[in-house]
Each structure stands twice: as structure tokens, then as C-alpha cells.
């Protein structure tokens, strides 16, 4: 197969950037999108042109590194997959493919198609964890969690933090990402005690990073490689409303975890 690629090239964070056109030749329909790009880069090495920088790691859809907007859709035309799981047979031979980086104020471009997604890490650092020491693994069936509850938490926990939801959102909102993390932790007994503080801190961090707000368009769900449902955004809103009520009635100084366990 043969393709014409329109690729975003940007030397660094301060460069203005532009589109460059490359030809991808001798592409097998069974190649992944990233393998096709590897081939293009291979062909650029003998020339003066610098290879195209793009992020990738596991290449099996679990690390959340690959991040390309392909023909206007994050992770490309297929559904429920990451860019590395996209195969060239999804495109018609001779097609022109436009490749752009994630676009958001909170995701500054580092180079070409690589963006800085540390904003998501900082949102996680604000509260996306459990600070209570739960000790070693407990005996089976000591901590009873219903099947439904476990499945619900797992559905949310399958978020790999790739940022496609933000890339797809008209407002570059990180609500689906935060919703997945908050819902997952609030659904389980270990995460339950800190749920009010967590949701307040993560939402505050989200706003601070310059993400937009949810417009209920559900583009995020439509591009999520893990098919995370927008119903978690409703859960997040419920958690946030609840926290607003709980926190306003209580002291602002949180209990220390040590006192509780002593």
C-alpha cells in the first residue's frame, strides 16, 4: 500500500510548526500505524530531513504513550484502540492521512507529535491515590466487595491516562480522565475514607492545569481506547457535589492517617 502523510513538524516548544508531506511506500496492510511511521522515518534518515518524533512504548495498547490525532480523531478511525493497535488496512490505498499532536494548553508540544502530558501526573499527585496504609494482602473474602461494585471499579480503573479524551474534547477538558480515577477509588472501601478530599483536590488541580470544562458532548467516550463510559462523569459530579456539602460542614484540617491507625 501507499499513502501520502501530512505530518505536523515542530522543532521545539517555541517553534511555530508546520505541516510536512511525506510519502509512505511499500506499506503492508498488516503493519500497525506506528510501524508505518517507523518505515517513513527509516526513509528520512538518508536524507537531510530529521525523523518524525512521536511517542510510543509498549505497542500493545496498555501504556498510554502513543498519542496521535489521525484524520481529526485521536487514535484514528477505529474504535476502542490506541494508535499502536491501529492497522493500515483501516485506510484505503493511496489515501492522504493527516497526523497531528494532542492539542491543549495543558499539553504543550515538546517536539513534532510529542506533547508534555505531565499535567495528568500532577492531577494524580493532587489526590489520585490512597494514603492510608492498608497493610499486607488480606485473606480472601475478608473484605467483601460485590461483583457489581468490583466490575464498576475495574471499568473505571482501565483508564491508561493517554489523554485522548482531552484531545477529542472541544474544550480540552480532562473530565473523563478525572472521572475514571475518582470513580474507581471511591467505589472501593480502601479509597472511600478520602473520597471527599480527593475529588476536591483533583478537580482543583484539573482547573489549575488549564483544562477546559465538560460540555456533555461525549466525544471523549467515543475516542477512549478503553471505552470508559461518560456515566463516570456523572459519578464524578455526584462525588463533587457530595464533597462540597461534606467539606463545608466539617473542619478543613484533615485527620492524620497515623492517628486513625493508632
Amino acid at each position: 500500500m501507499k499513502f501520502t502523510l501530512k505530518v505536523w513538524r515542530q522543532r521545539g516548544p517555541d517553534d511555530k510548526g508546520r505541516f510536512a508531506v511525506y510519502e509512505a511506500r511499500d506499506v503492508s496492510p498488516d503493519m500497525s500505524f506506528l510501524e508505518m511511521l517507523d518505515g517513513v522515518n527509516q526513509s528520512l534518515i538518508p536524507t537531510d530531513e530529521e525523523p518524525v518524533a512521536f511517542e510510543h512504548d509498549c505497542r500493545e495498547g496498555i501504556c498510554g504513550s502513543c498519542s496521535l490525532v489521525i484524520n481529526g480523531v485521536p487514535h484514528g478511525p477505529d474504535r476502542g484502540i490506541t494508535t499502536c493497535q491501529l492497522y493500515m488496512r483501516q485506510f484505503s490505498d493511496g489515501a492522504t492521512i493527516t497526523i497531528e499532536p494532542w492539542r491543549a494548553r495543558a499539553f504543550p508540544i515538546i517536539k513534532d507529535l510529542v506533547v508534555d502530558r505531565r499535567a495528568l501526573d500532577r492531577v494524580m499527585q493532587a489526590g489520585g491515590y490512597i494514603s492510608i496504609n492498608t497493610g499486607g494482602a488480606v485473606d480472601g473474602n475478608v473484605l467483601l466487595i460485590s461483583k457489581e461494585q468490583a466490575e464498576n471499579a475495574m471499568d473505571a480503573a482501565s483508564c491508561i491516562g493517554c489523554g485522548a479524551c482531552i484531545a477529542a474534547c472541544k474544550n480540552a477538558s480532562a473530565m473523563l480522565f478525572v472521572a475514571a480515577k475518582v470513580s474507581h477509588l471511591a467505589a472501593l472501601p480502601q479509597g472511600n475514607p478520602e473520597r471527599a478530599r480527593r475529588v476536591m483536590a483533583m478537580m482543583e488541580a484539573m482547573d489549575r492545569e488549564g483544562f477546559g470544562s465538560c460540555g456533555n458532548q461525549y466525544e471523549c467516550e467515543a475516542v477512549c481506547p478503553k471505552n470508559i463510559s461518560v456515566r463516570f462523569i456523572a459519578t464524578l459530579q455526584r462525588e463533587y457535589l457530595r464533597a462540597g456539602i461534606v467539606e463545608s460542614g466539617l473542619r478543613t484540617e484533615p485527620d492524620s492517617a497515623d492517628q486513625e491507625s493508632a
Binding site: V230, R231, L236, L241, T252
Partner: protein, 225 residues
């Protein structure tokens, strides 16, 4: 301090927009229902209008309340739109939507058209300033002739067109707004989600059809003075 932070956050902001919006939706539904009395003839509508005017405390509380709610709704929405514009300074060269409805993508536009329309509507039929030819007569019962004013207005194609544009903006805005507001308020349940999703278009159709029925019935002479 904490509470102020809550309301100023993007999500708290949206909760207030949703609540005020749903309040305005409630008004729009009752406004439509009240106006349908035009089909019962001049006496029914004029008596209804007189009944509202005979309760000045209620009327002005409702008016000032609605104005306050609308101002909150609009001010916070503008703040939200500006915040969202800032969130993506450089857009995509190519953009394909998979799920977002036209209504959801044009909320700011339909909202702005709606604001202009509502101001016009208040000047036109409430204050009677926009159309000097629609005089404020009294009917046989001594009430203000609201019926006559409405019939006079919609016999004029110009006003019909203006109101059609207003109704289009209203319908499109509501079709996304109601369902979106439910999601924003965290109202979600696997058994009812399809109902919640249908709520927006259903309310929009209800209100718009009710209002259009009045406009067209007058324009085509089914309801006449």
C-alpha cells in the same frame, strides 16, 4: 473559603448553570402552557393575563427572580466559554466529530440568539414598545386585550419570521441543555439513562410545538380576532 472555591471551579460553575438553566426551562414550559389558552378564545387568555396582573407581589417576585436567574446563567456561561476557549489555543487542522450533536456544538450561538430574541419579545409583547401599531386596548370585560395584541402580532409575516428564528434557537438550545444538565447534576442510572437522554429533545419539541401552534394558528387564520 472552601465554598467560594467550589462555586468558582469549572464544575461548580456548571452545576449553577445547569440549575439556573433548568429553572428557566421550567418557566418556558409554563409560559407555553399558559399561552395555549389563546385557543380558548379572548376571554380565557385575557382573564388569565388579568389574574397574573392582579397578583403584583407574585408577578414581580417571579419577574425579578427570572431576571436574576437569567443573569446568573448568562454571566457564568460567558465565563465558561472564555475559559474553554483558552484551554485550546491552537486548534486542529482537521477535525472529525463522532458523537457531538450540532446542538451541543452551538450552545453559545443558540444561547446568544435566544438572548436577543427574549429581549425583543419582552419589548414587543410584554412592554408593547417594539410594535407601536399593536395598541393596548381593553376588551369587553375591561381587561387588557392580550389576545388582540397576540393575534395582531402574528398576522404580520415579519413577526412570524422573527419568532420562528427564536423558536429554532430555543429548540436547539434546549435539546442539548436538558439532558446535559442532568448529567452535570450527576443524575445518572443505568435503568433510566435512555430516558434522561431523551428528556432534552422531548422537552424541546414540546415547548417549540406548543409555541409554533399558536404562531401558525394565528398566521393561517385558524385563530382570529
Amino acid at each position: 473559603m472552601q465554598r467560594v472555591g467550589w462555586f468558582r471551579s469549572s464544575s461548580g460553575n456548571r452545576v449553577v448553570i445547569s440549575l439556573t438553566g433548568l429553572g428557566l426551562v421550567g418557566f418556558v414550559v409554563f409560559h407555553m402552557l399558559g399561552n395555549l389558552q389563546v385557543f380558548e378564545g379572548p376571554d380565557a387568555l385575557n382573564t388569565y393575563a388579568a389574574m397574573l396582573r392582579d397578583m403584583p407581589m407574585f408577578l414581580w417576585t417571579a419577574r425579578i427572580g427570572l431576571l436574576g436567574v437569567a443573569i446568573f446563567h448568562i454571566a457564568l456561561a460567558i465565563q465558561l466559554v472564555l475559559r474553554n476557549r483558552r484551554a485550546r489555543p491552537v486548534g486542529y487542522a482537521l477535525r472529525e466529530y463522532r458523537h457531538a450533536s450540532v446542538a451541543s456544538r452551538t450552545m453559545a450561538l443558540t444561547g446568544s440568539v435566544l438572548l436577543v430574541f427574549v429581549v425583543f419579545h419582552l419589548l414587543h409583547l410584554t412592554a408593547g414598545l417594539a410594535d407601536p401599531s399593536g395598541n393596548n386596548r381593553l376588551d369587553a370585560g375591561g381587561h387588557a386585550d392580550v389576545y388582540g395584541k397576540v393575534v395582531h402580532a402574528f398576522q404580520n409575516p415579519l413577526y412570524v419570521v422573527i419568532y420562528l428564528v427564536g423558536q429554532l434557537a430555543l429548540g436547539v438550545h434546549l435539546s442539548h441543555a436538558v439532558s446535559g444538565s442532568l448529567q452535570t447534576l450527576g443524575i445518572e442510572h443505568a435503568a433510566f439513562n435512555r430516558l434522561f437522554k431523551a428528556a432534552g429533545p422531548a422537552v424541546a419539541l414540546l415547548v417549540v410545538f406548543g409555541n409554533l401552534a399558536i404562531i401558525f394558528a394565528i398566521f393561517f387564520g385558524i385563530v382570529r380576532a
